[in-house]
């Protein structure tokens, strides 16, 4: 009897134990990042795993003074891309779902086909085009291609969002004699706030993290975004690991804060997108 009970307790706890091990292993590098960010050279060697008794908070102020300009650049470029993507995809999604268009199906199939072009492979021809437009080393050189890359998925998302809203909502307004522009401003915009939120989050995360394209386009130091700047940092402050880790911690804060505040919207958006496909 006792034996049986013991067995039962064990078998229900096995998933938790395995998950706990997974969680610890997933979090361990983050823990090391945080404790190392408070150490100097010597402390890293003598006390690798522990929390330092004499935390070096100045690592953070030093790191901040180095990466400040990169943070500023990222916070100019990423939100601009998000705004562009939202404007384009909400209108396009609304039109594809609710308005009459010539050759609508064909046009939407074209959009879906563009989705299949792997953006990573466009790197070199895109760079050649940006060179010929003289947009290299400018914010626009990152923002415009970023909007193009993000808008396609976002349009597919927003189309399926608008399809979920009954036609009668818009028809009623039209019968009341509302102009199309009024419908867009007074109805489409407010109605689409949830999908705007989802698109904003998804675009923000993917573009904030983007490394390759800004790395190639933004050649001068004062233009660099956070990921590019962090890579630079590793070269400049080779052995000052405390400072580097402090920089990593600083740049992780905005994204973690954003995801904590918006977890529900984000998870909802991700799962909806995947199911619809």
């Amino acid at each position: 009897m006792k034996n049986k009970k013991l067995k039962r307790v064990k078998s229900t706890h096995i998933p938790e134990i395995i998950l706990l091990i997974f969680v610890v292993l997933t979090i361990a590098p983050i823990y090391i990042m945080i404790v190392t960010s408070l150490k100097d050279q010597n402390q890293i060697v003598t006390n690798f795993w522990g929390i330092p008794t004499m935390p070096h908070w100045e690592n953070y102020s030093k790191a901040w003074s180095v990466i400040r300009k990169y943070v500023l650049n990222s916070f100019i470029i990423t939100p601009s891309i998000c705004v562009g993507v939202i404007m384009i995809s909400v209108f396009a999604g609304y039109a594809f779902a609710k308005l009459e268009l010539p050759a609508k199906e064909l046009l939407f199939t074209i959009v879906l086909m563009f989705q299949m072009i792997p953006v990573g492979l466009l790197l070199i021809p895109m760079y050649l085009n940006i060179l010929s437009l003289h947009l290299n080393d400018t914010y626009w050189g990152v923002i415009l291609p970023g909007i193009a890359g993000g808008s396609i998925v976002a349009t597919v998302l927003s189309r399926s969002f608008f399809e979920g809203i009954p036609d009668s909502v818009f028809e009623a307004a039209r019968i009341d004699g509302a102009k199309e522009l009024v419908i867009v401003l007074r109805m489409v915009m407010p109605l689409s706030l949830p999908i705007m939120g989802t698109i904003f989050l998804q675009t923000f995360f993917s573009k904030f993290n983007e490394f390759m394209w800004p790395f190639i386009v933004l050649s001068s130091d004062k233009m660099r975004t956070i990921p590019v700047g962090l890579n630079q940092l590793a070269g400049q402050y080779g052995v000052d690991y405390g400072l580097q880790m402090a920089a990593y911690c600083i740049v992780s804060i905005p994204l973690i804060a954003l995801i904590v505040c918006t977890m529900k919207i984000y998870i909802g958006g991700v799962t909806v997108g995947a199911v619809k496909e």
Binding site: F22, A92, I124, L128, N129, S252, I259
Partner: protein, 295 residues
């Protein structure tokens, strides 16, 4: 009547204005580069002095003369296999999470697996680079406990690919994890229960009943993963730059280095590599789409 129809038609074309910005951006920043890429793949082109049409020569060189490209392809295949294996861990974690009966604990696990997703990807890569450092990194410390010396894994041909694959262990990607969890949750409990009544154990139920039921989501995620992996070379650039001795070279990185590595600027050749990779991803997508239709 006629006027009304005309008006309606006008409206239809006027509506095109809504999708005009989308198409303008798609044409300018996707279609144009796409065409440029294909065209330039037939040129010897360095954007400054050389611009010469050479037909299929870039492609011929790529498959016959280039000694690095086969290595890169071989590495890519290895990494694709590794990716599928790593994906299994997200599925396992999702299933185990749903087996946790206590709702609060279950929620806690979900949040804990999901949150690390917010870390900028470059931070994760740089972090692991630090863990791998010989002498001072985490692995060096662990090895020292057992009296062994930790080799410079990122600088050793034998270990470098394995070391890169190990990054992110236990590989629970927040994105895959959420989608698999919500897919598993939507499986009809009745189906599982009837399988269990028929005498199937927990493992058998999972592999024979649940897994086939969520296979559409798994296929989608794996396809996305495969296509992503074929294009991915950022972490190889950051960690090893393809070295040592091309042991961690992948096709994407080869393309990048041909174009931007010091003294190369072989844009035409790099475009040819991109086109080959594009064709590979296209074939994979088409196979998946066809299989989806058959299902």
């Amino acid at each position: 009547m006629k006027i009304q129809k005309l008006k309606k038609n006008n409206r239809k074309y006027y509506n095109l204005l809504y999708i005009l910005p989308l198409f303008a951006f798609m044409v300018a920043f996707m279609l144009m580069p796409f065409i440029t890429g294909i065209v330039k793949s037939f040129y010897r082109y360095d954007a400054v002095s050389v611009n010469e049409f050479i037909g299929f020569q870039n492609y011929i060189d790529l498959f016959t003369k280039d000694s690095k490209f086969p290595i890169a392809l071989k590495n890519m295949v290895f990494l694709l296999c590794a990716m599928v294996f790593c994906f299994g861990f997200s599925v396992m974690a999702a299933k185990l999470t749903l087996m946790v009966k206590n709702k609060k604990k279950q929620y806690l696990f979900r949040v804990l697996f999901f949150l690390p997703m917010a870390l900028p990807s470059i931070v994760v890569v740089m972090m692991w680079k630090f863990l791998y450092y010989p002498e001072i990194g985490a692995f060096a410390h662990i090895f020292r406990w057992f009296g062994a010396t930790f080799p410079n894994v990122l600088g050793t041909e034998k270990y470098v690919l394995w070391a890169i694959v190990l990054i992110g262990f236990p590989w629970i990607s927040g994105f895959n994890y959420i989608i698999v969890t919500s897919a598993l949750q939507s499986v009809d409990i009745g189906v599982i229960e009837s399988a269990q009544i028929d005498g199937a154990g927990a493992l058998k139920t999972f592999f024979k009943v649940e897994l086939p039921l969520i296979s559409p989501q798994i296929k989608t995620l794996l396809t996305l993963g495969v296509i992503g992996q074929i294009q991915e070379y950022e972490r190889f650039l950051l960690l090893t730059n393809g070295g040592p001795n091309n042991a961690s070279l992948v096709p994407g990185l080869h393309m990048y280095k041909m174009a931007f590595s010091s003294g190369n600027s072989q844009y035409g050749y790099a475009c040819a590599i991109a086109v080959v990779l594009f064709i590979i991803t296209l074939i994979i997508s088409l196979i998946v789409m066809k299989r989806k239709k058959e299902d």
